[in-house]
Symmetry: C2
């Protein structure tokens, strides 16, 4: 059982904390009455997906002795503007920079993350169609 | 289209940013090779759900002229330990403190959030069975 607590601070600003003890500030956009002091909750889902899959992929690439010098992901989501609004499509692009990076290792690491290990992706994948791509930048 | 970028900093630490410009630090637990410098990605889903629904509920209660003096949520999630692991059940408890708070207003606000407005809840609800409860503390 994973637990978190989310507390109203003021206006539309909330602070969340969870088992690990770290706090996250969330706020709404000024256009809907917020003060933009923190992330939108909907943004956290995309960032969580990137973090979750990124941890899997980098772990696997390190085990495969890949010389990764930079790694980032671009995660975008579509959420049609009708109620109940939800993510219906999410694309994750992996950008791996390094020396003699094996494309097969990258492809396999992503496949293992998205197909097996990444809990955030598996959860979001029940609502959204998840697609991915990758770019390898050899240094 | 909502966009975010998640970048590896070091070891298992990632920093995410999204359209609103706010950054969130994520890290894994030491037991799996992380340094616990930030939230687990899986925790972000629960906090995002609390923030998303909390913004709806407090907005509606304010429109209904409810005198809320404190508001927090406890969000817990179950994710059975088999691959692909995902949230299968999430419970959100709303704790509203205030003066002459109408139980009907609270109940209706929650219903509107979970049934219509909260995008994070609608997304997670495709994977997990979402249940809720509320507690009103009259001051």
């Amino acid at each position: 059982m994973l637990k978190s607590r989310v507390k109203l601070v003021e206006n539309m600003q909330f602070v969340g904390t969870a088992d690990s003890g770290h706090a996250v500030v969330m706020d709404a956009a000024p256009s809907v009455g917020g003060s933009n002091t923190g992330s939108r909750p909907s943004e956290l889902l995309l960032m969580a997906f990137g973090g979750c899959s990124g941890m899997d992929v980098i772990s696997i690439l390190r085990k495969k002795k890949q010389d990764v010098t930079g790694f980032e992901m671009n995660v975008s989501g579509e959420a049609p503007d009708k109620h109940p609004r939800m993510y219906t499509a999410i694309h994750i692009e992996y950008v791996i920079k390094g020396r003699n990076i094996s494309e097969e290792a990258v492809s396999r690491a992503i496949e293992l993350s998205l197909g097996k290990y990444c809990m955030v992706g598996a959860t979001l994948g029940k609502a959204a169609k998840i697609t991915h791509s990758y770019k390898i930048i050899q240094e």
